[in-house]
């Protein structure tokens, strides 16, 4: 393709504008006060003479000091995944504390005459086999799931990171013993273990289930904590702290733990979602929570056999469970992205 012809710019004489850096007519060099070379030289000389310590701000960034944690928080706030997940979780926590806020009925008050009926005004999710309002039961079911999820995670994280952290820090035979014990617990199939342990429990509260999940969940967190403590322990600053006279307790709590805790937080957040799913699984199998406790797992279990005639009975508790688990896993993902500098 031929290039479009461009007209040559007409040559025109333009008188030079006044340039302060160039000497004026009849001058060898621009005078002071006009930004010419002399001013530059004077400037240099002054700043070179100034002692370094005089500058009140000093070199370096003057923004507020940011640690790993404030940096992570800074990043999290801008992450839409984190914002959505935490709003969902906030909502779930609120309704599990005050379910009356959005559900006025009583989940245990049922009308058998309305068994398996579909939605009607005031009862948007319809009724289950016992004639209970599915909407009310779904709202009230959040409490059991959230309680089990949070308590089990806190328990497993505390137990796991304490044991794993100590084992990783001190090593030796205690470490070997703990690792083997963790392996044994890893070997227990969750559902089989649940059927065995929980079938003998008669309590209808959430605590046996929480205890069982902690019992099976701590080895995972202990492994993570042990690994990250071993990594953090090898850092030069831990050696440096030792060389400057720090004792074991101080080294572990002040220098190792803050640098090893991030992976534990990430894994625990993701585990929270799976623990909620595990509670539902156990309740579905009839060994987790039991009536009269209201739980999504129990409702799913009751609805499963009726899936063809009344699918709404299954849909709503299962949907609520999925959204809850998803929210916690998304939160865990976002936290991992923020705390792991390698992924940035």
């Amino acid at each position: 393709m031929p290039e479009p012809e461009r007209p040559e710019p007409p040559e025109r004489y333009e008188p030079p504008a006044y340039d302060p850096l160039q000497p004026g007519k009849g001058e060898a060099i621009a005078p002071t006060g006009q930004g010419g070379p002399i001013d530059l030289a004077l400037d240099e000389a002054e700043s070179l003479e100034k002692p370094l310590g005089d500058d009140p701000t000093g070199p370096g960034p003057r923004e507020k000091a940011r640690s790993l944690w404030s940096d992570a928080w800074h990043q999290l706030r801008r992450n839409p995944v984190f914002v959505i997940a935490s709003l969902v979780i906030l909502f779930l926590v609120v309704i599990s504390i005050w379910p009356q806020l959005i559900a006025s009925g009583d989940p245990l008050q049922c009308e058998l005459s309305k068994s398996q009926q579909g939605a009607e005004p005031g009862h948007p999710f319809g009724y289950d086999t016992q004639g209970c309002d599915v909407y009310t039961r779904t709202v009230y079911g959040a409490r059991a799931s959230i309680t089990v999820g949070i308590c089990a995670t806190v328990g497993a994280a505390l137990l796991g990171s304490a044991l794993g952290g100590l084992a990783g820090f001190f090593g030796g035979w205690g470490d070997s013993l703990l690792s083997r014990v963790a392996d044994i617990f890893f070997g227990i199939p969750v559902v089989l273990g649940g059927l065995v342990f929980l079938s003998v429990v008669t309590s209808t509260t959430v605590w046996p289930v929480v205890g069982f999940i902690v019992l099976l969940g701590w080895p995972q967190l202990a492994r993570i904590a042990r690994g990250s403590v071993i990594t953090a322990k090898q850092n030069d600053y831990v050696q440096a702290a030792r060389a400057l006279g720090a004792g074991n307790g101080r080294m572990l709590l002040r220098h190792v733990a803050p640098n090893a805790v991030a992976p534990v937080i990430v894994v625990a957040t993701i585990a929270l979602g799976t623990y909620i799913a595990l509670e539902a699984t156990l309740s579905f199998l009839g060994v987790g929570l039991r009536p009269p406790t209201v739980s999504w797992g129990i409702d799913i279990s009751n609805a499963a056999s009726q899936i063809r005639n009344a699918p709404h009975m299954l849909l709503y508790p299962a949907g609520a469970l999925s959204i809850t688990v998803l929210a916690f896993i998304m939160l865990g993902d976002a936290v991992r992205d923020a705390l792991d500098p390698k992924l940035r």
């Binding site: 370094l52 310590g53 500058d55 009140p56 701000t57 000093g58 070199p59 370096g60 960034p61 000091a65 940011r66 640690s67 790993l68 944690w69 850092n235 030069d236 600053y237 050696q239 440096a240 702290a241 030792r242 060389a243 400057l244 006279g245 720090a246 004792g247 101080r250 002040r254 220098h255 803050p258 640098n259």
Partner: protein, 324 residues
């Protein structure tokens, strides 16, 4: 004598056998004196320092023998508790890489103040005031404003100053600096070395400077100990060693410094590699690489013998070396 290391042996147990990292090291440092320990990587200079500080990882490390006398008391016979009190207050260490030697999640003020909290039981507030004082002492500009900053917000040279400040906090009588300037660029190296030397004079501390940089040593050291394969092969006052090395290894090191008057010529390099510590060659450990090696060198380990006042060499043929 402030510190005396006598016949120190350190071994490491590895999967392939016992690595003898330090094989009978002797050295001493007086107050106000600077000893430079020179050697390649793996020559045992850092391990010796770690043994002196008591921060050797055991296992796999093991102190197989010897004495470390600090102000006349044998550190190796002390309980861990007593040693811990000496670390930081009596002797302190400056590490090579200041960024990785500072805790990234604590502000430098907190880390400097920690020294006073641990050893002197000061309150957090008083410790922080002391931290500012220390930062000013190592000439960090705007110390008051920067005391709350985190290590990654400082430049390499400033970080090394903070490390020096931490080591000096309790005014110990001995400082061990393990390659304090290796991670810095050349202009900053000189500043940091000058600062260290100045503070040492001021506080009349003993300083052990571990380095492989002959240039750093020349200005600040009083005496030099050259290490090879876990042994000291030569020790001498600094000027004499530069003028007339009495060991072929030292000579090799000096010859391999680039010099302006040799422009265009090939740079000298010591042939071969440092020995494998699992299988140190019999006789003089340097014999496979030594241009002067003879039958005697392969048969027997040459002892570190005095060749002149204050000078010692572990070479049978040191006279030839000095004369060469």
């Amino acid at each position: 004598m402030l510190l005396e290391v006598r016949d120190l042996h350190v071994e490491f147990r590895t999967r392939d056998g016992v690595a003898k990292a330090v094989n009978g090291v002797n050295y001493s440092v007086a107050e106000g004196e600077t000893l430079a320990v020179l050697g390649e990587s793996g020559s045992g200079k850092s391990v010796t320092a770690q043994a002196v500080m008591g921060i050797l990882d055991t296992p796999p490390g093991r102190i197989a023998g010897g004495e470390i006398l600090f102000k006349g008391k044998d550190l190796l016979k002390m309980k861990e508790d007593e040693r811990r009190k000496i670390r930081g207050a009596g002797m302190a260490m400056i590490f090579q890489d200041a960024l990785s030697s500072l805790n990234p999640v604590l502000s430098v003020g907190a880390q400097l103040g920690e020294m006073y909290e641990v050893h002197r039981g000061m309150s957090r507030k008083a410790a922080r005031a002391k931290a500012v004082e220390l930062m000013e002492r190592v000439r960090i500009p705007a110390a008051r404003e920067r005391v709350g900053d985190y290590p990654h917000q400082f430049s390499g040279g400033m970080r090394q100053r903070i490390m020096i400040a931490m080591a000096l906090a309790l005014e110990p009588s001995l400082i061990i600096a393990d390659e304090p300037t290796t991670a810095l660029d050349v202009t900053v190296q000189a500043q940091v070395m000058d600062l260290l030397a100045e503070l040492q004079r001021e506080l009349n501390m003993g300083l052990i400077l571990i380095t492989h940089d002959l240039g750093v040593v020349a200005d600040v050291a009083d005496k030099i100990a050259v290490m090879y394969a876990g042994r000291i092969v030569e020790s001498a006052p600094v000027h004499e060693i530069y003028a007339a090395p009495a060991h072929p290894y030292t000579r090799g090191l000096l010859d391999s410094i680039p010099r302006l008057d040799q422009k265009g010529q090939e740079l000298y390099a010591i042939k071969g590699l440092p020995p494998n510590l699992l299988a140190i060659p019999p006789g003089c450990a340097f014999n496979p690489r030594c241009p002067m090696a003879r039958a005697a060198c392969r048969a027997e380990v040459p002892p570190l013998a005095e060749v002149a006042p204050d000078r010692a060499s572990a070479c049978f043929f040191w006279k030839e070396c000095v004369g060469a």
